[in-house]
Amino acid sequence: MDAQEIEALRRAALADLAAAADPDALEQARVAHLGRRSPLAAAQKELGALDADERRRVGALLNALKGDLTTAHAERRDELGAAALRERLEAERLDLTGPARRPRPGRPHLLTQVEHEIVDVFTGLGFRVAEGPEVESGRYNFDLLNIPPEHPARGTMDTIYVDETADVVLRTHTSPVQVRTMLTQEPPLAVVCPGRVYRADAVDATHSPVFTQVEGLLVAEGVSMAHLRGTLLAFARALFGDDREVRLRPSFFPFTEPSAEVDVSYASASGWLEILGAGMVDPAVLTACGIDPERYSGFAFGIGVERVAMLRHGVTDIRDLYDADARFLAAF
């Protein structure tokens, strides 16, 4: 076989391979041009009949042809495979612009989110978290907090009772948790007390018989009102923004002396908004809870989680927090 014939073979084979439109046609072309009965195979068998020089020359040409055809076949095979895969994938197309057809994970309630955010500010400042019962003894809820039995706050207009005789109440604040902490632990101590509390208020847009507090207590040697202010400033800035200031105004609580209402700077008519009550722990409370007021001093504060949540998130009706409307839940 001379070079011209080999070139003719090449042209014919490459044309057939290129023309194969599907894997079957390609296989037929491969068998025809590269198979055992192909002209190429026959020519290779005939090499033995040639003299050495001729055999080397023609053999090299046939090998080159075989290599070229094998490459051409592989390329065509890949082309056809890729086209088939493209076709299949095209057929599998999904419209992924639609909704994900699986339930989304649930969301923590806004009150939980805000409570955790508040608690986390204080744990970052070295406070621990203390808990106590919601149905509480009047002694812990009132007596040890300097609120005597005839105090108006203990009336049924303000406090929900479980048992008036045994003086068991729905706690009106989480201060009894402070009491329990002081009764069982030695200073120095720093705790925040999150939890639900209760008042005898009918449900309306601004009142709820159940609401959420985070109270705090720090008792150690040398605690001053500056420490109270610094702690509350850190809280206000964490929750409302780093540009905030706090203002303390004289007030009265039975369990603190001096006492203060605390305002945070706010875009309101007066420039201030009342957010919590606080003060230095009254020495009578320390004494009642077994702590020596000559040696230790402390501060306490009480934050209303609903109030913070409503201010920050534009909630205008406190009932929305307890009525669990799906639209409300999904917003936070």
Binding site: R101, M280, S297
Partner: protein, 815 residues
């Protein structure tokens, strides 16, 4: 307490714009709740005398009234709806062109009769609340006078919230005095009072230490009449009703000086002598408000010779009340034990201006001055003449003694973090009326009689801070006193909540009250923690479980057409002390979850609990697939994951039939044989009763065993990750229907032994090839050995053991 600005400025130098004053007050413990201007907008109202009146010809309830301003300005006819006046009275006439708040007067025809303006009621003029009758003025106002020439209507009235320990803020003078201290200005001289008569007054016996000072003056020749307009204005500005010139003076002086006063009609005081005592209980007394009161032991009462005549410090008695014919007055000013008044007032539900003041402690040294002031004003307004005086007192009451307080100036400065030397602190306290002796660091302070709240060094510290200004307290973070943070159990609680939410349940918070019926979940019980004073009948008890709140939430949202919802609540449930739930929890975790009051008083059970409820809605957001329903599996998956996160063994499931639940689709969740949860589908009837779809599922799980389990205190440890290839073995267990998959899987797993790495249920089959009442359960085992590659023989050995094991359950392997 309402404070007319002009009244304040008559007592203290105030040279501040109103808004600055309000700001300073609020920053100093005189919290301003608002500023009003009663009578603002009233113009063109004059006094006019009634000359004639006759019935309106066409309206029974109206009168035609002729009035004149005198001075030759003619007679004007007005149509009027009131009837509390007569010919000769002087009334207030809003003439044509006059202005009242919200209206400008014109000549108007009423039922065919032209009315030239109107005759005004107190409320229309900002001079009281009364809207039924006209304001009939006294001789102090001459006809023709313009109202705004007689009294300054529309001036600012500042209302403050009074702190419970600052009873001295319940008077204009008390606030003026405090403002003088706050602002560092001067208090003006006290208002004029009558000189005490030398003659001895009615005998008074004080039989109780619940009284301090008791001053009683005898006044003769009084004639009760309408009060002058300036008195009515002051009372109206302070929100007190005008009665007559005698009672009004007692109220005016109370507002002015803070000392409640009481006027008896002396001719009705039997025996003309008084005894002050504690009630023995059972006495009856008709009070001024027309109620009959039964006294209890400890109430303070004032007797005349006929028995109780006045409920001391709270309300006078009707029997000795001043009336139009009263001529002789016994004017009483006394000071009472705050705690006793608080008890009586609270018990009777009777809160008066007097009791409000006595509860907060009235200046024990102020009674004589107040009585003298009132006697003077009664002379002016009612023609009364003081003729005799009695003044007596008891001094034992602990509430009376201010006493001296000693304090360390250094400690006060340290507490406040203020660099204030002893002398500066003394100067501040002196501004508040204290007498202070400074000895080095020591302060010896005698508070003024009106400051019962200054009794301890802490009280002095607050006063020093207040007068110096809270704004001066610096801001500084406290040193870290201890390492902070959540403990293991608290972290686990957050972790469990996150796991619940990850399963697609939204967290809700509901009000934890229930009515008579409550849908029962774990450990059903009729026991309730009942409320003694519930806010509503359907909120009479604390919730015994969480499911009521959850189902109500689903109902409310379904009512709005929501196709599905899955909600969870983590909160406390409440049961009485002896409830069986307590025994179960004790068995599961010991008694550490219980709460006690003082002296071991057991408090109702209030364990932390998880509740879950869901219907529909498994198709995802924005996808309406009516067939994608939540099932009990959604609830079970959450409970299983919580147990895993708590490092507890898997909760065992026991099918159960309970009221309200689907009998074939409900299981108890048990830990070591103790019921700690329930999960299931609602009974169709229950679902229907709640207006919920039939496929509504719910569950409840007590969290205390999880929170108090190993995860709260110990760390998870890493498993060995075997790298030899795993061998998979599928088995088909043919078992009677009654045999639970849980039991089959447990048996298969146990038989597979140490090689078993994972066991899954992949198939359930029923058919003719199986014996009647049987099903085939397909299970896939993944076997691995840490030390070697497993061979076919290993799998065969496992299969043989499984075949033997399931045979003991009455099941067999299908081959």
């Amino acid at each position: 307490m309402r404070l007319p600005l002009s009244w304040l400025t008559s007592m203290v130098d105030l040279d501040l714009p109103l808004d600055v004053l309000v700001e300073r007050m609020s920053a100093s413990g005189l919290e301003v709740e608002g500023v009003t201007r009663p009578g603002d907008g009233v113009r063109g109202v004059r006094a006019a005398r009634v000359l004639h009146h006759e019935p309106h010809p066409d309206a029974d309830s109206l009168r035609l009234v002729d009035v004149t301003g005198e001075g030759g300005d003619g007679i004007v006819r007005v149509v009027c709806g009131a009837a509390n006046f007569d010919v000769g009275d002087v009334v207030l006439h809003a003439t044509v062109g006059a202005e009242l708040p919200g209206m400008r007067l014109e000549a108007r025809t009423i039922r065919g009769q032209v009315s030239q303006g109107m005759l005004a009621s107190p409320r229309e003029l900002g001079l009281g609340d009364d809207h039924q009758g006209l304001l009939v003025v006294g001789a102090d106002v001459v006809p023709g006078a313009q109202l705004d020439e007689v009294v300054p209507l529309g001036e600012p009235v500042i209302e403050i919230a009074v702190q419970p320990d600052r009873g001295d803020h319940l008077s204009v003078r008390g606030v003026a005095r405090d403002l003088a201290a706050v602002l560092g200005t001067d208090l003006r001289p006290a208002p004029e009072g009558a000189a005490a008569p030398a003659a001895a007054g009615v005998p008074v016996t004080l039989d109780t230490a619940g009284v301090g000072a008791f001053v009683a003056w005898t006044l003769e020749d009084a004639v009760p009449r309408p009060s002058p307009l300036w008195v009515r204005m002051r009372l109206a500005q302070c929100g007190v009703r005008s009665i007559d010139s005698v009672v009004d003076v007692t109220n005016l002086v109370m507002l002015e000086l803070g000392q409640p006063l009481h006027a008896f009609d002396l001719d009705r005081v039997v025996g003309e002598r008084l005894t002050v005592r504690e009630a023995t209980g059972g006495e009856r007394l008709d009070t001024l408000d027309g109620s009959e009161r039964t006294l209890e032991r400890g109430d303070l009462v004032i007797d005349d010779a006929d028995g109780p005549a006045s409920l001391a410090g709270v309300m006078g008695g009707a029997r000795t009340e001043v009336h139009a014919g009263t001529r002789r007055i016994l004017l009483e000013g006394a000071v009472w034990d705050p705690a006793a008044i608080r008890r009586t007032s609270r018990r009777l539900g009777l809160v008066s201006e007097a009791s409000t003041r006595f509860e907060r402690r009235v200046d024990p040294d102020g009674a004589a001055e107040a009585v003298a002031r009132a006697a003077h004003l009664l002379g002016v307004t009612s023609g009364a003449r003081a003729t005799a005086a009695t003044s007596t007192a008891r001094t034992e009451g602990a509430w009376l003694t201010g006493g001296t307080v000693t304090a360390s100036a250094r400690r006060i400065a340290d507490l406040l973090a203020l660099d204030l030397p002893a002398a500066d602190q003394a100067a501040l306290l002196e501004r508040a009326g204290c007498t202070v002796a400074v000895d080095g660091d020591g302060l010896t302070v005698t508070p003024p009689s009106w400051r019962g709240d200054l009794a301890r060094p802490a009280d002095l510290a607050e006063e020093v801070a207040r007068l110096h200004g809270y704004d001066h307290v610096p801001s500084e973070l406290p040193p870290l006193v201890r390492r902070g943070g959540l403990d293991g159990r608290q972290r686990l609680e957050r972790d469990l909540r996150a796991a619940v939410l990850a399963h697609g349940f939204d967290e809700i918070v509901t009000r934890p009250f229930v009515g008579e019926d409550a849908f029962a979940g774990v450990h059903p019980t009729p026991g309730r923690v009942l409320l003694a004073n519930p806010l509503a009948q359907d909120a009479a008890a604390m919730r015994p479980g969480l499911l009521d709140g959850l189902l109500a939430t689903l109902r409310r949202n379904r009512g709005q057409g929501r196709a599905g919802m899955a909600v969870a609540e983590l909160g406390r449930i409440h049961r009485p002390v002896g409830d069986p739930l307590g025994d179960a929890l004790d068995a599961a975790v010991g008694a550490t979850w219980r709460w006690q009051g003082p002296d071991g008083l057991p408090l109702p059970l209030q364990p932390r609990t998880l509740g879950l409820a869901a219907y529909g809605g498994a198709g995802g957001e924005g996808w309406a697939d009516d067939d994608a329903l939540r099932t009990v599996e959604d609830v079970l998956a959450v409970c299983d994951e919580l147990a895993r996160r708590s490092h507890l063994p898997a909760l065992t499931r026991r099918p159960v039939e309970r009221d309200g639940w689907h009998p074939g689709r409900t299981v108890l969740l048990e830990l070591d044989g103790v019921e700690i949860g329930i999960a299931g589908q609602l009974h169709p009837r229950t679902a229907d009763a709640w207006d919920l779809p039939e496929r509504t599922v719910a569950g409840e799980l007590l969290l205390e065993p999880l929170l108090r389990g190993p995860a709260g205190s110990t760390l998870a440890t890493a498993p060995a990750l075997v790298r030899h290839p795993a061998v998979f073995v599928d088995v088909a267990v043919v078992a009677p229907e009654a045999l639970a998959v849980a039991d089959i899987m447990a048996t298969v797993g146990e038989a597979a032994g140490a090689l078993l790495e994972d066991l899954r249920w992949f198939d359930e089959f029923r058919g003719d090839q199986l014996p009647d009442g049987h099903r085939s359960i397909g299970l896939r085992l993944r076997l691995q050995d840490p030390d070697r590659q497993l061979q076919d023989a290993d799998a065969d050995a496992v299969l043989t053991r499984i075949a033997t094991a399931v045979a003991t359950l009455g099941a067999s392997l299908r081959t």
